[in-house]
């Protein structure tokens, strides 16, 4: 579904991605793990076209998207939940969700997706008129995921959804990620620091260090890998 072919992404003169390749098949949950500053967020930004790669290609269902504008890429069905949630603080929960469906023109579909996300996260339905900025961290993460779902993405990019949340909430959010993947066949690309949890729900995983991919394997194999255990699982 998504094929990344040797991309190099720069911030000014700093090369953040040094020739990365990866493959995501339809319906998979793929995780990308790595230390701080490895370039995980940059990978997502490159896919979305916010920070386009300087060299290399990205194909989404066969369409080259590496030099497309972000809004065109989103229109193709790729939606990102950015690191740190980035919900709109002064807009209400409802308005935040409406922003998610900004590019859509099917009121009926939007309506049913709204019911769907309220079903996934009933707390959001209760808070629908509250300003986004006044939600708790966990609720904000739920809102950020819901907002992305409102775009009805085919590929959902999640950047550290567990960031700063209590273990119980993380558990809940990960269960819902699996549910979204099973029920809608939404392909999920999950960037995580919490390697243990991420590898437990993912089908395959990639490990990234300093802008290059160092390992790629099935999630089960990575969980058993000695090097991964030492570096990312703290065992």
């Amino acid at each position: 579904m998504l094929r990344i072919n040797h991309i190099h992404t720069f911030y000014g003169n700093i090369e953040a991605l040094k020739g990365i390749s990866l493959d995501i098949a339809e319906g998979e949950i793929i995780t990308l793990i790595g230390a701080n500053g490895a370039g995980k967020s940059t990978t997502l930004m490159s896919i979305c076209g916010v920070v386009p790669p300087r060299r290399g290609e990205i194909y989404f269902r066969g369409t080259p998207i590496h030099d497309m504008a972000t809004d065109k890429i989103v229109a193709l069905g790729i939606c990102q939940v950015p690191e740190g949630r980035r919900i709109f603080p002064i807009l209400s929960v409802m308005e935040n969700l409406e922003m998610g469906s900004y590019l859509r023109r099917d009121p009926q579909g939007i309506k049913s997706d709204l019911d769907y996300v309220f079903d996934l996260f009933p707390i959001l339905a209760q808070r629908r008129h509250q300003a986004g900025g006044t939600l708790s961290g966990g609720e904000q993460q739920m809102l950020a995921i819901s907002r992305a779902l409102m775009a009805r993405p085919k590929l959902l990019l999640l950047d550290e959804p567990s960031l700063g949340l209590a273990p119980l909430i993380i558990q809940q959010i990960f269960e819902i990620i699996v549910k979204i993947n099973r029920e809608n066949r939404t392909t999920i690309f999950l960037v995580e620091q919490n390697a243990n949890l991420a590898l437990k729900i993912a089908h395959r995983g990639y490990v990234m260090e300093n802008g290059i991919i160092t390992l790629s394997d099935t999630a089960a194999n990575l969980l058993g890998n000695e090097a991964v255990k030492k570096a990312y699982l703290g065992i």
């Binding site: 809004d71 709109f88 002064i90 300003a131 900025g133 961290g137 907002r147």
Partner: protein, 415 residues
């Protein structure tokens, strides 16, 4: 701050300091006078004493009211609730009150030119032009959050479009109104393209420069714009086949302005609640999140710029038609500053606030003409006092109340 706490030793000390500070500040103007005839310096100590006593006494009510101006910190939810219940809002919602207000306002607006002199009608027309300009700039600054210090450039484009098109091609007012608006929008897009990547202060500086460039071009390109001497004999708008006296045409212009103002209010309020209006708000909040939602950043900002400029263009055509003479001196930076003040004073994003503050900022200096030299002083003092006691503007936009709470980064995000 309660009454009792007002007169503690601490407070008196503060007031003494304030008095001293004011005495130092006003010393050169109020205490020293050079008498050029006898070539001596006069020391007017009694003036300084008066300033000191005045500042000392006034500082008490000042602090008292300032304490009242700032409500105690509340949670956003509680504040929202309080706001909903606040008397003003309830009062504004009541259907009878609304009906009465509409009837009263309509009556006043319709009868105004027949009750008052044409001098008053002219002032009111000017004020209405500024209402339109304020509402237009409100799109750019209040809704889209782009600080534009060169708004007057688009106003000038509108005014000169009418003046020049009439001068060279004899085009009528009615034709020039949409053309002026369109040309201003075009300039808005032209300016928008290079400055879109800039934010905040940088954008302000670039737009400031753009405003000055337009004025300097008009001033120096004699063949094109007739330079500083300007263009005169611009016709007032009329209706075909009807000969109007000066008085009648100024009344006609007044009603035209009323119509344009209503049109502006209608369009801007529709825009604010539209998809693009929501996108402006969101873009002001978080650009990256907007991009992730598939909002075209460039186009959204450009639209705000162009739409804002359109209203300035129409205002400019109106202005040229009203004064029948324009020159570059009417389009200085001060003009941009006044329009921006209207938006800020009104409470960014609030339409009613912008309308009120346009009337205040334009009519107050006009009616203060009786106090000639103190006019600008009083005007300045009103502005300062206003900003101290109501920094959120005359009518604060309800959304802005969440802002401070919302922007606080939740502590867990720092980890």
């Amino acid at each position: 701050m309660t009454m009792r706490k007002l007169f503690t030793l601490d407070e008196i000390k503060k007031s003494l300091l304030v008095a001293l500070w004011f005495m130092v500040l006003t010393f050169p103007i109020l205490a020293v006078r050079v008498n050029p005839i006898y070539k001596v310096v006069e020391w007017r100590w009694h003036n300084l004493l008066m300033v000191g006593i005045g500042a000392f006494l006034l500082s008490f009510p000042w602090r008292y009211f300032q304490g009242h101006g700032k409500p105690p910190e509340k949670s956003a939810a509680a504040e929202n609730q309080a706001l909903k219940n606040s008397k003003i809002l309830l009062w504004r919602r009541h259907p009878w009150v609304r009906l009465c207000a509409v009837v009263l306002a309509t009556g006043l607006v319709l009868s105004f030119p027949f009750l008052f002199s044409s001098y008053q009608v002219n002032i009111m027309t000017t004020a209405l032009i500024y209402v339109v300009l304020g509402l237009g700039l409100n799109i750019v600054v209040g809704l889209a959050g782009l600080l534009d210090l060169g708004y007057v450039a688009f106003y000038a484009v509108g005014a000169y479009s009418y003046a020049l098109l009439h001068l060279h091609f004899g085009l009528s007012f009615w034709l020039c109104l949409p053309i002026g608006a369109g040309l201003a929008a075009l300039f808005g897009i032209l300016l928008g393209f290079p400055v879109l990547r800039l934010r905040g202060d940088y954008l302000a500086i670039v737009t400031l420069g753009f405003g000055e460039i337009i004025r300097l071009v008009l001033e120096n390109w004699n063949e094109f714009s007739q330079g500083p001497s300007g263009i005169s004999n611009i016709p007032r708008p009329g209706l075909p086949g009807i000969e109007m006296s000066l008085n009648a045409s100024s009344i006609f212009l007044y009603f035209l302005m009323i119509a344009l103002t209503l049109f502006t209010i209608l369009v801007v309020s529709r825009l604010r609640d539209s998809r693009i209006g929501r996108a402006w708000l969101a873009l002001r909040e978080d650009e990256i999140a907007c991009q992730a939602m598939g909002i075209d950043k460039t186009r959204t900002k450009l639209t705000a710029f162009a739409l804002g400029a359109t209203w300035a263009g129409m205002g400019g055509v109106m202005f040229a038609a009203k004064t029948t003479f324009i020159n570059p001196a009417s389009f200085t930076f001060l003009e941009s500053a006044i329009i921006l003040s209207i938006v800020v004073l009104g409470g960014m994003g609030s339409m009613l606030g912008v309308i009120l503050s346009a009337f205040i900022l334009i009519l107050v200096p006009e009616y203060l003409r009786a106090f000639s030299e103190y006019r600008m002083l009083i005007f300045g003092a009103v502005l300062v006092i206003m900003m101290v006691f109501r920094p959120q503007g005359l009518i604060s936009n309800v959304r802005h109340r969440y802002r401070f709470e919302g922007l606080k980064t939740p502590p867990e995000e720092l980890g």
